[in-house]
């Protein structure tokens, strides 16, 4: 025992860590295995009994994991697009065309020191970013990405959506109030006032769509717009779309409505006192919100995952590859095809160019083979699973709107707080009421004619 302790004392710090962690892990792993062996069937049967729960948990996890890359992508897009609008290059050093810079920013923010200033309310201060971020993530849960690809098909999806949007504002208000800083306070109050006034036209403008489709479920609304692009609600509800887009911009705190973190007025708004990862949460939540708002616009007015024109049935290719039927042949194919294709792809470089050595040619062939294989797999998926097509259409439309948001940020100056409020109450609200009235009337008329 004494020997053990002496040996342990001689270890360096990493050594100590390793020699304490590894045994612990072993013990835990053994216990886990035992638990699975013992209680496995019970758990499995329980999960099998209520699949919706499992589906919900899995979907929530996937969505939560999906937000970070989305934020990175949109941040990079914003940096690059605004740079091009400023006649600059924008990031071009980190990664190909600087595409890794947003990731680097995010990780740096993660590794920064985050401290709680004196005088703040520690609990609220700590939880505000979490509330903001979780609100946006949970909003993402009801967004229909593709047929059958959504977190939950709530029959009150739209209502849930706006409720979660309101929750995010509570987070901003918490941040502004708890920061013990007057700039933050002003920012929080601004965001509260802004969202309180813009929730109303936002919701009212959507009611028209709800009347048309007769459902609050985003999935249902998207399904109702299937067919050609003429069935999209933007053509039946143009005014509603305009109102919704403006109000949604204010909801996402984007220029020209980004009064909550107006750099030139209140230093950084509600995020003035935040540093490190807590600031990172705000940072990401903003861009996730942009994605969400764009996605909602697409789902409500632009047919969601529906293609603009239906794919003609005549051109439909349905590959029928019964891999399981090949039996042992499958193994043989897996063993033979890759080397053969690699050699086949690599040989031309070896034969045609005397500079290239054999191993280099093989490496090139290997890379090419991977490219070809991935392409083939994707094509197969594209043809055989319709959700891939839907996902591609949905993301395409969504990022078009994200680009629109970035474009506005690069171009427009900021409005004043009183202009903001006046616009909401004097123009958007009456217009949305008018739109609602006209829609209801049209529906009644059409029904009566039928």
């Amino acid at each position: 025992m004494a020997i053990l302790s002496r040996t342990f004392d001689r270890l360096t710090l990493p050594g100590k860590i390793v020699f304490t962690v590894v045994p612990l892990l072993l013990v835990l792993g053994a216990a886990l295995t035992a638990a699975v062996v013992v209680a496995g069937p019970v758990v499995l049967s329980f999960l099998g009994d209520n699949l919706p729960l499992v589906r919900f948990v899995v979907a929530a996890t996937i969505v939560l994991l999906m937000t970070i890359p989305t934020a990175f992508l949109i941040i990079y897009m914003e940096m690059k697009v605004i740079a091009l609008m400023n006649l600059r290059y924008g990031p071009d050093r980190v990664g190909p065309y600087g595409s890794l810079l947003s990731v680097v920013h995010g990780l740096k923010v993660l590794a920064k020191e985050d401290f709680t200033p004196t005088g703040v309310d520690p609990i609220v201060f700590t939880w505000a970013p979490v509330v903001v971020y979780m609100a946006s993530v949970m909003t993402l849960l009801v967004l229909p990405f593709a047929p059958g690809l959504f977190g939950q098909d709530l029959n009150i999806g739209l209502l849930y959506f706006f409720a979660m949007g309101g929750l995010g504002v509570v987070g901003l208000l918490m941040a502004g109030w708890s920061s013990f800083n007057k700039y933050s306070l002003l920012g929080g109050l601004r965001s509260a006032a802004q969202v309180v006034s813009y929730e109303i036209p936002l919701t009212l403008s959507v009611v028209g769509v709800v009347l048309l489709s007769g459902s609050l479920s985003l999935n249902q609304i998207t399904l109702d717009q299937s067919g050609s692009f003429l069935d999209w609600y933007v053509f039946r509800q143009p005014l509603a779309f305009v109102i919704f887009f403006i109000a949604a911009t204010a909801e996402a705190n984007r220029t020209p409505f980004d009064l909550t973190e107006a750099d030139s007025e209140i230093v950084a708004g509600f995020a003035t006192e935040y540093s490190g990862m807590r600031f990172g949460f705000f940072f990401f939540a903003e861009y996730v919100n942009v994605f969400i708002v764009a996605g909602l616009t697409v789902a409500l007015f632009f047919g969601g995952w529906n293609a603009p024109l239906a794919w003609p049935a005549a051109w439909a290719i349905t590959p029928h590859a019964d891999l399981a039927g090949m039996g042992i042949g499958l193994l043989l194919a897996l063993a033979i095809i890759p080397p053969a294709v690699i050699v086949a792809l690599g040989m031309p470089f070896y034969l045609l160019n005397s500079q290239v050595k054999l191993w280099q040619a093989l490496i090139i062939g290997f890379v090419l083979f991977n490219v070809v294989a991935v392409g083939a797999l994707l094509g197969f998926a594209f043809l055989s699973f319709d959700w891939v097509v839907g996902l591609i259409w949905f993301l395409g439309k969504t990022y078009l709107f994200v680009f629109t948001f970035v474009w506005m940020r690069g171009t427009l100056p900021r409005v004043r707080i009183d202009q903001l409020m006046g616009f909401a109450w004097k123009w958007l609200l009456p217009a949305s009421l008018l739109n609602l009235f006209v829609t209801a009337l049209a529906i009644v008329v059409v029904e009566s004619i039928r």
Binding site: N86, T118, R190, A262, V267, G410, L412, P413, R414, R416
Partner: protein, 405 residues
Amino acid sequence: MTSVRHASADDPRVMLEEDIGVFEPIPPYPPRTEREAEFYTLGDGEMFINMGPQHPSTHGVLRVVLKIEGERVVDLDPVLGYLHRGVEKLCENADYHHTIAYTDPLEYISALFNEWAPVMAFEKLMDVEVPRRAEYIRVLSGELNRIASHALFMGWMALDLGGLTPILWSFIERDEIVEMLAALTGQRMLFNYFRIGGVNGDLNHDFMSRLGTWMSKASAQVEANQTLLNENEIFVRRMRGLGVLDRETAFRMCMTGPSVRASGIPLDIRRAHPYSVYPELEFDIPTRQEGDCLARYLLRLDEVKQSLRIIDQCLNEMPDGPIAAKLPRLIRPRPGRAYAAVEGPRGQYATYAISDGTDQPFRMRIHDPSFVHLQAVGLLTPGNLIADTMAIMASLDPIMGGVDK
């Protein structure tokens, strides 16, 4: 940071409290003047908010203590001196040629005018005649510098209103001008170019070629840079009718330059008190009647066009001859006083020099337009919103280097 409070009512000393991290904008000493006492007493529902010395839109190290009620500014108290470099004292301890290097960085985005005024004052003290070519070169480079300064002003205007792109576009403009001035003077910003009795160097080929290529597309480019703002509904709605400065107030506030010309006063020293070769050049004094921020903004656009006219005439009528008068290395003007003023991008740059016969100015007073314009913010802002404070401040275009000397 340690917070401050005064120990007793009569002791102006600052006591330190190590344990509290609060910073109060209220000064730690009892009020000195009635104005201070009136400002630093809060009504109900009012609070102080401390803008600066480091704030994105205070154009440097200006500190403004705002007394706000919600979003509305009730009153404000600018606190200067964070960039006070003691230029006048340094000038009194340097010889005449050396003072140019001290006055250069006052209004750092229009440095040539900071040199022009003292140089003119010293020439008056010396009774020296400046060669015409030197005068033309001064006018030429000065107008270029004016355009660069106005370009920056427009960018800052948009930046304080939340627009990202215009400032970068105007910096492209400014960089071209500044680079060609660097070809002429050797420095990008603080060109130490004017000399007593002339200029430092003659026009060179690099400068002329850059100038030619720029002049060919200048007016079109100046127009293009404004397309983002002039037609922008948000921008115009925010600027129109904001911070209106009427004629009498402009005179009472001792203001000069574009700020008063936007209020309908055609007071331009180039015409009101002609100097250099401006009497020989033909250009207009654009004025506007509204006197609001938008007028101040648009007026500078017109001034840029006029400056382009002046540059064009200078290039056409540039005479040959020497570029500097013959002067001894160490000049000793005979005792006397001289006052010289030039019309800069923001108004009157003036120098009041007193010579006592030695090689150093006995007293050198530098009058800077930003300094007098900045106190109009306290007059125009109350009653407006916090966002308007930035707009008004930007429209008066103070440069803290000049404000604090």
